[in-house]
Subunit: 255 residues, 2 copies
Amino acid sequence: MGKTIVIANQKGGVGKTTTAINLSACIAAAEKRTLLIDNDPQANATSGVGVTANEKSTIYETLVGEKNAQEVTVETQMPFLSMIPSHINLVGAEIELVELENRERLLSKALDPIRDKYDFIIIDCPPSLGLLTLNALSAADSVLIPVQCEYFALEGLGQLFNTINMVKKTLNPNLDIEGVLLTMYDSRLKLSHQIVDEVKRYFGAKVFKTIVSRNIRLSEAPSFGQPIILYDAISSGARHYMGLAKEILANDSLL
Amino acid sequence: MGKTIVIANQKGGVGKTTTAINLSACIAAAEKRTLLIDNDPQANATSGVGVTANEKSTIYETLVGEKNAQEVTVETQMPFLSMIPSHINLVGAEIELVELENRERLLSKALDPIRDKYDFIIIDCPPSLGLLTLNALSAADSVLIPVQCEYFALEGLGQLFNTINMVKKTLNPNLDIEGVLLTMYDSRLKLSHQIVDEVKRYFGAKVFKTIVSRNIRLSEAPSFGQPIILYDAISSGARHYMGLAKEILANDSLL
Ligand SMILES: Nc1ncnc2c1ncn2[C@@H]1O[C@H](COP(=O)(O)OP(=O)(O)OP(=O)(O)O)[C@@H](O)[C@H]1O
Ligand SMILES: Nc1ncnc2c1ncn2[C@@H]1O[C@H](COP(=O)(O)OP(=O)(O)OP(=O)(O)O)[C@@H](O)[C@H]1O
Ligand SMILES: [Mg+2]
Ligand SMILES: [Mg+2]
């Protein structure tokens, strides 16, 4: 039975998609059967792994019950990595989902038939705590929270934890915190050091030892439709995401 | 009658809040009566200008008709700059607004009584095209679109323009494009140059001459609750946002 990890944070631009793509690619490189799900209408995770989605065969069709998860799953250029794509024209989907029965558990029900086929399922989310993110949190075993080393990124964390606790109480009692990942760290900036200290003080052992530094190769890779370990395996970005994958695999085998 | 400009882009972390705060502060510095509205539950624009919101006196109370816009307006440390704050616990508000009558025009109706009191009204939005952003687009004269000099930032622009055209057809026929602002530009990076060329090719004269470079002082300023022109008036960030304000004031007087 695989482990489902959701990458969530309502603050925009903190590295959710970059983490979803590169963590799943690094786990697949360790020959674990991995499924990346793009649950964000922006569809950045889809293009970031080089997939062109068929407009009528995406996560949306699975959420509304038109297609099952198996039917919308596609292969990627990496062995051991499959994905369920998204499409940019789902951007109004959240308003439509509000009217459906059992609206927060649509994704969880859709994934139940395929959970056994994978060792890890990684779900990318939009920058909001709306229905798409609630669906992902309901379907997950744990949540990984990227925190950018910037002042604004600290402000919403309290609300994110309120939402996680609400989901744990009402929709998914097994939901755990996988960890807090510091991203876009720049060792030359005083602000970066301040944020790291603050996050470690607030979250203690929940903070991953791996910190992802700001690295231009990470933001170039998506324009070639490649995860960092295919685009530039010797970059600091590749090293950091391999380090994160090792930490998560080590935590998993400890269970 | 003042001009209402909405800062919108569903892509996260592209500089919406930084632009809303610093454009409104620079326009206020030119002694224009300016109102900054924080329409994002993350409430970054509120803390970024050093305001601590009273939980029951925010944009939310105005949207649902509990308080009028005048009652929730507060002064900031800058002369000529007032603001309507937001609060982090509105994060679930969008789901609640769906059930209200006339749900896309709540903000426009709430602003009608105060539009004459200001020369400019600047509205910051969350990273989504949901009801909060639709309300802002319905209430606006024009929309300013920040585009980060990154690959993922290009992907959602088509959908943003579809949404703007839909609003123009169904809710607000007067809605114009104020312009496209390139942000976080780094002249050392090939990727930055590629994005600038692509955006200029796609949007032509709609692209502001001012380009905001990546500047650490811009991301430090919010932690002191100050717009850049108070925090570091000689920084490149302050110069660029003053340049943007001058361009917008010049466009406005041409009308
Ligand atoms: N460590 C890094 N170094 C440099 N650039 C990065 C890094 N991580 C992410 N980026 C870039 O920063 C931008 C924001 O990252 P990303 O899109 O992954 O964030 P996100 O949280 O998924 O955004 P959204 O909230 O819009 O979904 C992207 O252009 C990405 O390429
Ligand atoms: N030109 C710049 N140079 C350096 N840092 C910047 C610049 N513009 C914005 N930032 C920083 O980048 C981060 C993202 O900017 P900001 O929060 O303004 O984006 P946003 O679009 O409002 O994000 P969201 O989608 O979450 O609302 C912030 O931490 C901000 O301080
Ligand atoms: Mg993303
Ligand atoms: Mg913002």
